[in-house]
């Protein structure tokens, strides 16, 4: 049996499933944090959550509102300084998965969280980089979680805040980025992965009830599909229960 669920719930559950138990995960705030805590509360009890505030192995009961909530420090295996979390933990490539959001993402999975419009005269000034550029550079792999729309899924981002595959194959190596880059982009409509040859994001899974045309309509480039396009397994009741317990306290 499947329960009724929202597209955001499908997105969060699909993201949580990507996190394998025992791995370490550098978590951005918001949807990534909710998904990571859902994973920890379901199939991955030993997932190591690392927040840029310096908390390693945090075990919050509820997803924190901010990246530096007290519960993260109180439940962590270790709390280190902010320079240390970036220099000793993120930069050397020790972290398995970086979990990022995005305001814009393009066909090569480059991420913009800085400005919409020209930098000097922005149409929308966004928060900026935070830890994302180095998370995207250094984690063994990156998962992006972002709602799919033509505003967000653009052919070319207005500003490269965090590098996915740059302008295509070989760019990460040329730039000396040692992490593997984006492995998965999870949206409220679909799951996308970079094509192994072209590095361009293609649809590998459509969520139940979503058509390819819908996904294409929400994408600012000519979206292709993987050869073995599949349907995402819908959220199980257990997953939904766990997710709603996590988010029940807050919208």
């Amino acid at each position: 049996m499947t329960a009724a669920y929202t597209s955001d719930e499908m997105m969060t559950v699909a993201a949580a499933r990507r996190l394998r138990d025992g791995r370490s995960c550098f978590v951005g705030i918001g949807l990534p944090s909710t998904a990571a805590n859902l994973a920890r509360g379901t199939h991955a009890p030993d997932l190591v959550l690392i927040y840029e505030s310096g908390t390693i192995g945090a075990r919050p009961d509820l997803p924190p509102l901010s990246i530096g909530d007290g519960v993260l420090a109180d439940t962590a295996d270790a709390v280190v300084s902010v320079p240390e979390i970036f220099n000793y933990w993120l930069q050397p490539g020790r972290i398995d998965v970086g979990f990022l959001g995005a305001a814009q993402i393009d066909r090569f999975a480059n991420i913009n969280t800085t400005v919409i419009g020209p930098y000097a005269n922005p149409r929308v000034r966004l928060p900026g980089a935070g830890g994302a550029p180095e998370i995207a550079a250094s984690c063994r792999e990156v998962t992006v979680i972002v709602r799919q729309s033509r505003r967000a899924f653009v052919d070319r981002v207005d500003f490269v805040t965090s590098v996915g595959f740059g302008s295509g194959p070989g760019d990460r190596e040329r730039l000396g980025l040692r992490g593997g880059g984006p492995r998965t982009v999870i949206t409220d409509l679909a799951i996308l992965e970079p094509d192994p040859t072209s590095c361009e994001l293609v649809v590998t899974h459509l969520h139940p009830g979503v058509t390819l045309d819908q996904a294409r309509a929400a994408t600012g480039w000519d979206l292709a599909t993987a050869p073995d396009l599949r349907e995402t397994t819908p959220p199980t009741p257990a997953e939904l229960d766990a997710l709603r317990r996590l988010t029940g306290s807050r919208p």
Partner: protein, 273 residues
């Protein structure tokens, strides 16, 4: 040896128009009271430095204290935008705001270099992003052993660093615990420093996870209970998440913002809590 003095006197002594000022505290222990005192004293043309401007710099920018902002993430954590920051960048209100924009790793390392008496720091960062094209203080540097190209950022050495901590003793030794962020680095990188604390105590009782900043490395210490609200001081208060959510509305228009600041910050001492 740090001088223990009132917040008003400490700010008057340390913060002057045109200074570069770093109020640090990563979500936790943000020195709000000190920021409000800077606003009340009417400082102008400040270069404000902070990894996450947070509401405190949104307030200082909206009140016209800043000429320039050095930062790496300018949002309302978990909520959304900083409307006063956006209004300054997009519409130059109340004044134009120059920005120098980094990543967290870049600013953290720039403070480390500042605290270490080095002119620059090296990191694996920024490469391939559009930040170096807009931020002049990001340059390539080549490893003299491997030839590999990395990134350098110049040291940050603020005129004044301000941090909030849980406790200090009479000699001005400061103790803080929980998320300690980049406060030690900011304080040691600065020419002058102010630490506001929840409580002055006779003796600092050792605590798990606590770090101690020796009084002889600090300029002034002021007792300001609740001085981190709406941020928090682990062991003394919890984060006022409701205020962070409410700020989204308060700060959305210039009028509601100004009225709130008048009532809660500019008005007499009564209203300062």
């Amino acid at each position: 040896m740090a001088t223990v003095t009132s917040l008003a006197d400490a700010v008057a002594d340390l913060v002057h128009d045109g200074d570069s000022v770093a109020l640090e505290g990563f979500t936790h222990l943000i020195p709000y009271a000190a920021g409000h005192e800077i606003i009340r004293q009417g400082r102008r043309d400040l270069t404000l430095i902070r990894m996450t401007p947070d509401l405190i710099y949104d307030q200082m920018i909206g009140m016209g204290c800043a000429r320039r902002l050095v930062f790496s993430w300018g949002g309302n954590p978990g909520v959304g935008s900083l409307h006063r920051f956006r209004d300054a960048v997009q519409n130059r209100w109340p004044a134009p705001l120059e920005i120098e924009e980094h990543s967290h790793a870049g600013i953290a390392n720039a403070y480390v270099a500042g605290a270490s008496g080095l002119p620059f720091a090296v990191l694996r960062g920024y490469r391939g992003t559009d930040l170096p094209g807009h931020t002049a203080t990001v340059r390539p540097i080549t490893c003299p052993f491997t030839g590999e190209e990395l990134t350098a950022v110049p040291a940050i050495n603020p005129d004044v660093a301000v941090v909030h901590a849980q406790r200090a003793d009479r000699r001005g030794n400061v103790q803080l615990w929980g998320i300690t962020g980049v406060q030690k680095e900011a304080l040691l990188a600065a020419r002058r420093s102010l630490v506001t604390v929840e409580e002055m105590v006779e003796e600092l009782e050792p605590r798990p996870g606590a770090i101690v900043l020796p009084g002889w490395a600090i300029t002034h210490v002021s007792e300001v209970p609740g001085g981190s609200h709406p941020s928090y001081s682990a062991g003394y208060s919890t984060r006022d998440n409701g205020f962070y959510l409410a700020w989204d509305e308060i700060s959305r228009s210039r009028e509601t913002f100004t009225a709130w600041m008048e009532e809660h910050v500019l008005a007499g001492a009564e209203a300062r809590r």
